[in-house]
């Protein structure tokens, strides 16, 4: 009989591993705390976009889906994740960027953070596999800052919008380069997915053009080798004295009795915060949790900082004609002052900023047009800045408990001087872009958030003294327990969106597990 694999979490990482291993004939059981989430997301699209209704059945109950927070982070991380079948990437922006080679070596090159135990070259092949897995549309032809690649993008890029091209021309004259954005949206039909039709409500793409992990979950289920257990909470892992994972202990959310599910391999892929929490809950030989002999579980936990500004122009810029992400600049990812400041990424938003131009009072047509018209003149600019770990950023178990009596995760976060310097840099670049593009009014939001980019806490490294897992995600001291996803990141993936790297690492881990098991 083929070996069995238990995966905790059915998000983009768990789905990738389940899909790979089940197609190789391994018996896979996926455990998902949240509820079912139909695919393609046509029903969700209708409810949210056509009927303006947020259906509560797609959200996990608050007494199993919560975190507590301390420090200076103003947003609540609960708002940044979705516990459901398919996880947070059922509703993601689908920007799929490769980290730059320098992002893996920030300590050596710039003197901050830590170096990863693997290089860009080690991961390059899996970046290609991840792009093929997600159906990424893109090109490097217009992006002089893109890292080298050994194979082309699987799909052609989404072109810049008419007004983004105009903006690109203006900025080029000032030495700022805009280019297209690689994204997991199908520019053309791909595998069993339809080509994008530009519905523009991408968070709930009704046709599956924007990638959703449920696509590969269904593929895994079709093999007959994979079983999905939703509305089930994994409460801890059972590890024997030799460090070998024996089983996951789970409980249906509506039942009072817990059960054991034995497995030959256990993969924790529950999102950064819940993965850390599960290791801590699975205390093994002490209260600090599995894998924490070196004291690293929960430490080195970081966020990106996303800040956004709105820029007003005298002439209309017609936002929202394209639903995906068109223009970005990677010019500041490796800027000359990196070291003093971290990496910075610029996105030119296609959406209307800050809810401008909504009708709130009824009246004559001219009064209504007057309320709507501002939306034509505003352009949103989003800036993502790098961060790095510090002693004031960590996840531990909370004093509050869920319905089963297990402590929630507690996130503590205090921004460092480096972070504040990066935010000043973001403001500086925003002002530069606004001024260069002829904006006559600008708003810079102080409402800074992570964009759902939660990283670290189970970071990878060379040994138990500096990390929780090795470069394949295998828990130090264990032969068959793996942790995958953003929690294993060493830093914040520079300033690029972390998901493509998460999927590349997941596919690499899946191959490693497959090789081991065979």
């Amino acid at each position: 009989m083929k070996p069995t694999v238990a995966i905790v979490g059915s998000g983009i990482v768990g789905a990738a591993i389940a899909h790979t291993l089940s197609r190789s004939g391994y018996r896979v059981d996926l455990f998902e705390k949240g509820p079912e989430y139909p695919y393609p997301h046509a029903k969700q699209f209708s409810e949210r976009i056509q009927f303006m209704y947020e259906n509560p059945i797609y959200a996990a109950s608050k007494d199993i889906d919560a975190v507590t927070v301390s420090g200076d982070y103003a947003w609540h991380p609960d708002r940044e994740r979705f516990l459901r079948v398919g996880g947070s990437a059922t509703q993601w922006s689908a920007i799929t960027l490769r980290m730059r080679p320098t992002d893996f070596r920030t300590k050596s090159l710039y003197g901050y953070g830590e170096d990863w135990p693997l290089s860009y070259d080690d991961l390059e092949r899996y970046y290609g596999k991840a792009e093929a897995h997600l159906g990424v549309s893109g090109t490097d032809v217009d992006n002089p800052f893109a890292p080298r690649r050994s194979r082309p993008f699987p799909l052609p890029p989404f072109e810049l919008s008419y007004h983004d091209r105009q903006l690109a021309d203006i900025l080029r004259a000032r030495g700022i380069h805009l280019h297209t954005t690689p994204q997991a949206r199908t520019r053309l039909p791909y595998e069993e997915r339809a080509g994008c039709q530009n519905f523009g409500a991408c968070q709930f793409c009704p046709i599956g053009a924007r990638y959703s992990p449920t696509y590969h979950l269904l593929g895994a289920l079709k093999t007959g080798q994979c079983q999905l257990h939703h509305d089930v909470s994994v409460r801890r892992l059972l590890i024997d004295k030799a460090g070998r994972g024996r089983a996951v202990v789970y409980q249906r959310n509506d039942e009072s009795k817990e059960q054991e599910h034995p497995a030959d391999v256990i993969v924790v892929a529950a999102g950064a915060v819940e993965s850390i929490r599960l290791l801590l809950l699975s205390a093994h030989g002490g209260s600090a949790g599995i894998g924490s002999a070196g004291g690293h579980v929960g430490r080195h936990f970081t966020f990106h900082y996303l800040s956004s500004g709105g820029c007003h122009y005298a002439s209309p810029v017609y936002p929202n004609r394209f639903g995906g992400f068109a223009a970005q600049s990677h010019q500041f990812l490796d800027h000359p002052s990196r070291g003093k400041r971290g990496a910075l990424k610029v996105e030119v938003g296609t959406q209307t900023p800050f809810h401008s131009g909504r009708v709130t009072r009824w009246g004559s047509q001219s009064e209504i047009v007057a309320q709507l018209r501002p939306r034509l003149h505003w352009r949103r600019i989003i800036l993502t800045t790098e961060s790095h770990p510090s002693a004031e950023k960590y996840v531990r178990l909370s004093d509050k408990r869920d319905r089963f009596g297990d402590p929630y995760a507690h996130i503590h976060h205090v921004a460092t001087d480096f972070d504040h310097e990066n935010l000043r840099f973001a403001r500086e670049i925003f002002d530069l872009l606004a001024e260069a593009s002829g904006g006559d009014e600008r708003i810079f939001s102080e409402d800074i958030h992570s964009g759902g980019h939660h990283m670290g806490g189970c970071r990878m490294g060379r040994n138990i003294r500096d990390s929780v897992v090795d470069q394949y995600g295998r828990l130090h001291g264990s032969s068959n327990v793996f942790v995958t996803g953003g929690s294993t990141f060493v830093g914040t993936s520079g300033a690029v969106n972390p998901t493509l790297t998460m999927v590349a690492l997941a596919l690499r881990t899946a191959d490693f597990i497959g090789d081991q098991l065979s």
Partner: protein, 202 residues
């Protein structure tokens, strides 16, 4: 001192202690939870709940009144199918909406008949807007009508929140774009060519 007098004094002292305790407790509560209490009270007065009447299909006449109201609210040539679909879906899916829509239609039709029309949908645009003005409590700065509505016309507050505001929100993210010159609105399949060209109706 006689026994009854002592007893009544004891009762008096007990009452004083009780009152002082209540006053201190009240002051503490106001100090610590005053904001919450005030907002809850305000919410209860100014934001009456939708109610939990069972969902169900809407009669065509009610949908007709709602669509006619929509046209009056936005004063724009619109294709009304998606508004009708919106009203029907909410009435059939969400508690409270069917009953509210029906009461709204009754109020509109009653006002229309008082003006000599057979029903609201049969009125011209100007008359519809006049009737909506009687029913709606939105007009900015009209505090008096809002207070009047709080006391005597609590359904008006529901009409405002659950019908008028929702119609304006739906209009904002659909026909509002077309009114500004877009060929179609986000949420419809717009293809991957037109966004790369200059807007045709700018």
């Amino acid at each position: 001192m006689s026994r009854p007098l002592r007893r009544s004094r004891r009762h008096f002292l007990q009452a004083v202690v009780l009152l002082v305790g209540l006053a201190l407790g009240g002051a503490f509560a106001v100090r610590h939870w005053g904001g919450i209490l005030k907002s809850r009270l305000k919410w209860a007065l100014t934001d009456p709940p939708l109610g939990d009447a069972v969902p169900g299909p809407l009669p065509d006449s009610v949908v007709g009144a709602l669509v006619a109201a929509t046209q009056g609210l936005v004063d724009t040539e619109i294709e009304t199918t998606h508004y009708a679909t919106f009203f029907r879906w909410r009435a059939e899916t969400l508690r409270g909406y069917r009953a509210l829509y029906e009461r709204f239609a009754v109020a509109l039709d009653r006002a229309a008949r008082e003006g000599g029309a057979p029903d609201f949908a049969g009125c011209g645009l100007a008359r519809r807007q006049s009737i909506l003005r009687q029913i709606d409590v939105t007009p900015a700065g009209d505090r008096l009508s809002r207070i009047h509505a709080l006391v005597f016309r609590r359904d008006s507050l529901r009409f405002e929140k659950y019908i008028i505001r929702e119609v304006l929100a739906l209009f904002s993210h659909t026909d509002g774009w077309v009114l500004l010159g877009y060929e179609s609105w986000p949420g419809t399949p717009r293809g991957l060519e037109s966004y790369t060209r200059a807007p045709s109706r700018g």
